[in-house]
């Protein structure tokens, strides 16, 4: 039996190598073929009776339990570990974006769309798009507002791209980190039914920022009222996604703490939107001071323009 076991180990080893060379072969089939060679690989050092059962194919429950709980089984220094975070298809990403823009009341974004498959593609590229959209729209909007003024000379304002990038990536990664730490701490005190992993929180935050992309483009319109209506609208949509996601995770806790947590989430989201609007988009002025003005009117005009 030992030689049979060694022969089957060698066969699974070959299968693992073949699959490693052809990673796109696994995208069509379900997880099972990738899981079995990996499991065999990692268990080569500890032969035991469970090995024989799996090799003979008689023990299905063992396999399914491992598949459900142990999706990311590669060690963190291999490339395959990070590939598990990009295991999404085009339609899945589009579905998740749709879910963040049209929140269904009562449905949880994480349970409905992410379903134990958090991806890093969405958060990373939505943040990148948002950074450049805000910088470009801000530049365009300032150009249109100041167009025609004799003293105005167009500048590309490229510095603002780095500032936008720092702000948005910090928000999309540090706030989920803080929130996850806080939820873990509360979980140790109060047993919550719902708990999220760090990547799921990053995912929710990343996808909830998507609504700000069309909002930033529409912020080019130089009307104060339009801009603030857009802020309110997008804040309601993405804020409700966040609230509906995190309320089940804190509702078993002390009432005050739950409300404070959800309130902080919404306030930080609002701060991001308002801060971006204020910093990157100049306020649309009705009038600019003419180049030649009497000296005693200068101070009043300057205070009015801010």
């Amino acid at each position: 039996i030992a030689s049979l076991v060694m022969y089957l180990f060698a066969e699974f080893d070959d299968a693992a190598n073949l699959l490693a060379a052809n990673p796109d072969a696994t995208t069509i089939s379900i997880d099972e073929p990738t899981e079995i060679p990996k499991k065999q690989h990692s268990r080569l050092q500890e032969p035991g009776r469970e090995e024989d059962d799996e090799l003979l194919g008689t023990d299905d429950s063992d396999k399914t339990e491992l598949l459900a709980g142990q999706k990311k089984s590669a060690p963190f220094w291999t490339f395959e570990y990070y590939q598990t975070f990009f295991d999404v298809d085009t339609y899945q990403v589009l579905d998740r974006i749709k879910g963040s823009v049209f929140p269904v009341p009562g449905k949880n974004f994480v349970r409905l769309y992410i379903r134990s498959n958090p991806d890093l593609y969405g958060p990373f590229w939505i943040c990148a798009t948002l950074v450049f959209t805000i910088a470009v729209s801000g530049n365009l909007s300032n150009f249109f507002i100041h167009l025609g003024k004799p003293t105005y000379h167009y500048v590309p304002e490229f510095r603002k791209v780095s500032i936008a990038a720092t702000t948005i990536y910090a928000y999309a990664w540090l706030v989920p980190l803080a929130l996850w730490g806080f939820l873990m701490w509360r979980n140790s005190k109060v047993m919550n039914i719902v708990s999220y992993s760090f990547l799921e929180i990053v995912c929710v935050y990343g996808y909830s920022l998507f609504i700000y992309i069309p909002t930033a483009i529409l912020w080019i319109i130089p009307e104060k009222v339009v801009r603030w209506v857009l802020v309110m609208f997008s804040l309601c949509l993405s804020g409700s996604v966040l609230v509906m996601t995190f309320w089940p995770a804190v509702r078993d806790d002390n009432r005050r703490i739950a409300l404070a947590t959800v309130g902080t989430i919404v306030v930080l989201h609002a701060l991001l939107a308002v801060g971006c609007l204020a910093y990157f988009f100049d306020a649309p002025e009705l009038d600019y001071p003419a180049p030649i003005i009497p000296a005693h009117n200068v101070s009043t005009v300057i205070t009015k323009s801010r």
Binding site: P23, T27, T90, Y121, W125
Partner: protein
């Protein structure tokens, strides 16, 4: 070899011949030792390879030869010339000007690396440097656009010149994106092609924006 033991050669037939293997002038062994060739040959060979890839980018055909023989000379030359041409822009204060040389350099190379990593993480079969090579070479149309923009700006910077620049930049941006997609999209599984093409679109959009917003002092 037992059967050869009884072969004998009679003594009055001279046995002569050459032991050395004749080396013809077209033997493949000569290609391996490029150490002895004149420097001009070495440089011309690399320049020809780079030039061939430039032609491939301008007339994109599906060709695996481009992918197999990757090199990073072309992208380096393009990146440096684009970054140099983007200098000398207007800057009232240091903060509001166009991108500095280092910023352009970092955006192009870091952007290309990120896109390559993204495509590999999504399950692409293209190698790291091949993808860098393709993305770098496909900056060529945008470098041409930058050259045209600078020439147009020499003539004047009014609305007409802006419209000409806008059209040229949009056309070259579309050319770059289509050229790189033609080379890179095939290495992806079919249900993730859009996920890989979008970052390439974003990358060339940012470079086009930098070119379009260039205003001379």
């Amino acid at each position: 070899f037992a059967g050869l033991a009884d072969v004998s050669i009679s003594e009055d037939i001279p046995v002569e011949g050459e032991i050395t293997v004749p080396v013809g002038s077209h033997s493949p062994d000569e290609d391996y030792s490029t150490l002895d060739e004149p420097v001009k040959d070495t440089i011309m060979r690399d320049l020809k390879a780079v030039g061939k890839k430039f032609v491939h980018v301008m007339y994109p055909k599906k060709s695996s030869a481009l992918l197999r023989d990757w090199d990073l000379w072309g992208p380096l030359v393009l990146c440096v010339s684009l970054a140099l041409m983007l200098q000398g822009g207007s800057a009232d204060s240091k903060d509001d000007g166009g991108p500095q040389f280092a910023e352009v350099f970092v955006i192009i190379w870091f952007g290309a690396v990120v896109i390559t990593l993204n495509s590999k993480l999504l399950g692409g079969t293209i190698s790291f440097f091949q993808s860098l090579c393709v993305l770098g070479y496909c900056v060529l149309p945008l470098t041409v656009a930058m050259l045209v923009c600078r020439l147009v700006l020499l003539a004047g910077s009014g609305t007409v010149s802006f419209i000409i620049r806008l059209i040229v930049v949009i056309a070259m941006f579309a050319w770059s994106t289509l050229a790189s997609t033609a080379f890179l999209a095939d290495s992806q599984p079919p249900n993730r092609k859009a996920l890989v093409v979008y970052p390439i679109f974003l990358f060339y959009f940012v470079i086009s924006w930098m070119i379009l917003t260039f205003t001379p002092q």
